[in-house]
Symmetry: D2
Subunit: 350 residues, 4 copies
């Protein structure tokens, strides 16, 4: 939709615009209002060079595209029926809960392994553990390759799939070699298109699932799905979207909780949504409420920080991680709420 | 806490600050760090003139108060055990659902009365109806005093308490005369301190309840409770807080949903929290999810726009109001979720 | 512009929509894209009841209006050539600087009068002084009617027009009686439509100028101009717009400075723009930079807190007010920058 | 500063906290207020493991650090007198203007070369040209290694330093080989710590300057300087900070202009600040006003998109780039404003 600066185009201007769009196989249609006239472009309206040439005309104010730009992640794409499986879990059939420590302490592998067993016991379906950690200051502990074998050991002992964040190509190679089941792209790299494309290419034609966190500066829908499109375009359509809180940070919380974007995403994309309440609110005491809110909004899963002895954690755990005992209670309620809102028979039973 | 611009105060500066705080009955205590020293004010640290005099010193950077400024609404005030009753309902015992039309159409009273019966049938505990409406443009329909008798008639027919928004002293007098049970202060007037104080004074020593909506520009906690304090200081402690969405507006929603502030409020104030999902999201299709999320976050109630034939509404109803049939389903789930999260016995039953 | 939920309307749906718009004298025009079709409403597209009826149809997703809703404040309205004069100043001819204390201390009238003389000396064209003050807590000093005679005395002594904020009808009556030249509507009341309309009505056909501050929750343009429209529709078109910082508050500043909205406002309305740097940044040390930035963005004036002895002020002065000596330097630079950007001859001289 | 959940620590709790801090060589100091007591940690208060252990205690609410965390970029660090030179320019002596096209079109090298000559003529001190471009959709043109030789040719022809954005290690290697003078890190990678560190390491002990753009989700000060610290910690202290607009995006602008953070940055770091008005506002018509505002706020330079025939640009140019003719006028005014605000003699002359 072309919006002119003045109330309508002059005949000369109109001819100039028509000449341009026709070169790209499009047609122009005027929409005549009482006070102003705007112009629709019929055809492949997103052709960048055509758009640029139109925007370059001094008498044009704006160009608003109408159609969806997503080829693979769009809810109407041919991938819409694509089913994501992680281990024995089929996304969408019941709440998929990933749980575990923020950061694996390479000096204390037992903490991590005990936590892994405890969250499995509590009902988690996958184990999270940070091998590497993005930290605001360069002088903080940033993780260590050696923690990968602890993560892999946790998978061996529990039989559950494992999840870790990768931030660059080196880490990606280490994680691929260890056949990590779920690769997280963190909020700080959610717009790192070189990494997104590389992840898509290197995991093409594997069962690896990519959990893409929302960048703290992303709008809730279009830019988020566009970033997922980079991974899918690279070759791997197993992408899940993870709201994790955003700016402006909210008085009292670590971030601005954003589980409420779930239905907005689900109207535009088929990708499962897995909410991260731990980073959204940043305090253990609020995690359960946000988890249930995410279920109420239709999320397919949750990723939760849990630790058997949080104050000994070396990452964000001390204030953020919940105990596996609380996790068990939370999962039970999440399942009841899933049934209440999505399961016909359960609804009757209530 | 006094923070100097340099790493510490010089002896002369220190003496000057001490002189000031002593005049107001306070004492100074230095907190000596490795790199800088800051100074605590022991005593009535909020005394405005003292604070101003200290801030006026060229070598002082900041003054951060430590204690709570709320005398009446604070969770530790003597009012903390104050119970709010509306009709037969005691706030906190079960979900308090207010429902009804955005705006009463004075030309079609039957729509409103039929809606009132239908929302009662659906399980609502009070009837909302806009007699007057704030509108962005001065040329839109702004409501009419004559609608008050329709609202009163709805109370007579259903036996339920009634709720309406007042925006100035004239409307307040009309509403007081009609003995409206719940007076709403809307988001645009949430910082209109003259009105807040007047409402508190005129409803002092009555059973009238004031439902204070959050201003779209308020932080989630302190400024909101301070506005409630104006009403209580005026003489009426029957104040309930209503999160109703805020800016920045979110792509896809009418506002940025903010039911997640409920636990933050409940840590600081004893006031009940009644969430408005209708204005938070602005689209009927998202109202049920936001309502359940509000329950998950611990809200005491909900205020929901409902209409028997939304497209005939004259306010925001056409896209925002849900049908009383949907309201009934929503209330049933809200009660199940309340039981799941707050009722020990029900929890066992699930 | 009507946007359907599906890619196009069915023939039956199309007929239903056409029936509605024709009842309101409008016509429908389809805009056929490759992937979807949308529909323009030709005619009085903003007729609220028509819009509501269309939005109420289950198969309609959105209705986007195209034309400007402002009748009086629009840059293309017949008022566009309206010139605002304050005392001897004609807005737009040179920088209009309002300066003075945040709050008049009724116990110390001399501070205010000395400040008034000093800011006149510094080059200010009008005197500001808060007779009443909105305060976050009900227990803080809120100002006093008795300060009005001090403000009036300052006008008598300096010969400059005076400016004060009014928050309710009582204050408005007191200010009208004193023939205050510039009435400020503060950020907290910028959406208090009852007050805006009342101010417009009571000052209709006078020379009184209304300085409308931006609400901290307003978008930069449309909602702001719409609020001004209330005053003009009440009867007084002498309205000036005042950006004064907004939420989300910015680390380091009191608010998020917003002088940059000036050119956006000036594209849509003829109203003069007077920026408030003092509240935008909230610290005296940043006021000069923000003032010059406002000039760079094309503002017509500034309203600045100044005090001869800031640490003795009883309002926000201690950290916010600049000394009249700094004001003089600031005004000199503001005038040089005005010349640099707006005065052809001066530009050549540089 | 340790803030307990209750109004003070019990003796047992106090002993437990003291035990912890003593293990890390710190001491505890109580600050006794009327209503609550808080506790200062004297010593290396930022030791992460100590902080985590304290935060893990159930009766502790918060831990607020007091000292600056920046070792190299802090305004009080030993690098504070470090002078950045680019070609013949010494940062801080006069406005440093970088200008040129958003994206180099490898198919039309002459456009870029002609633009380079034109911006030099207009007064620019360095040439920008995008060899690679981050694009929201994976299907848009992303730039091409082959454009690097065009950029290098522009340096050869004009004698001016060159600037381009790098997004990954491959691009970094190509740019290093071409001895690009200024490496830009874009907003999407401003929190990509792996890349920041790598850039610092590979450019250690060279004259290469890194221009770090602000991430759209960064707070204005601390997180921004911390990201710069990664580059300096990698080995290259030649870092300049670039505000470039942020979210929430503002009605009318491409982003929320943020040149006003300049004085906040300059209070905390010695790094030069170079503002990007082109991306801040996103429309050519607003670029000059924002550029002057940046000068008013104390910026050391500007980076501006300019193009001899903007509508033929293949990046953001059509609406964003200004003509070199407008650039010349802008630079002249920027220099006059610099003189007005920073040059004592020029100030007298005005």
């Amino acid at each position: 939709m072309i919006i002119p600066k003045e109330s309508e185009l002059t005949p000369v201007q109109l001819r100039e615009v028509e000449d341009i769009v026709q070169q790209y196989g499009c047609k122009l249609q005027a929409i005549v209002g009482f006070h102003r006239t705007i112009y629709a472009v019929l055809g492949e309206e997103r052709e960048q060079v055509m758009v640029n040439r139109i925007l370059g005309l001094s008498y044009i104010d704006r160009f608003d595209a109408v159609d969806s730009p997503y080829k693979l992640m769009d809810i109407h794409s041919e991938l819409a029926s694509h089913q994501i499986r992680i281990g024995k879990h089929i996304m969408g059939e019941s709440p998929f809960i990933i749980a575990g420590q923020c950061t694996i302490d390479p000096a204390n592998p037992n903490y991590f392994l005990e936590t892994a067993h405890a969250v499995k016991e509590a009902g988690a379906k996958a184990i999270r553990g940070g091998v590497w950690k993005p930290r605001t200051m360069p002088y903080s502990f940033q993780g260590d390759d050696s923690s990968m074998k602890i993560l892999v050991e946790a998978r061996a002992q529990t039989g559950l799939p494992i999840d870790t964040e990768v931030m660059d190509e080196h880490q990606l190679m280490v994680a691929m070699e260890a056949q990590v089941d779920i690769l997280q792209i963190g909020t700080r790299n959610a717009l790192n298109y070189s990494l997104l494309r590389k992840v898509g290419e290197l995991t093409a034609n594997t069962n690896t699932v990519v959990l893409l966190k929302r960048s703290m500066s992303m709008g809730p829908v279009s830019e988020f799905i566009a970033a997922a499109e980079y991974i899918a375009a690279g070759g791997n359509p197993n992408v899940m979207l993870c709201p994790r809180g955003t700016v402006p940070k909210m008085e009292g919380y670590r971030n601005h909780p954003d589980e409420s974007i779930t239905p907005l995403l689900k109207e535009k994309t088929w990708a499962p949504v897995v909410v991260d309440p731990s980073h959204s609110v940043g305090r253990a005491k609020y995690v359960a409420a946000t988890s249930l809110a995410a279920m109420a909004y239709g999320a397919d899963g949750l990723i939760i920080e849990s630790h058997i002895e949080a104050q000994k954690g070396i990452g964000d755990d001390p204030k953020q991680a919940i105990h596996p005992r609380e996790l068990a209670a939370l999962i039970q309620k999440a399942e009841a709420l899933w049934a209440l809102t999505r399961n016909k028979e359960a609804k009757l039973a209530l």
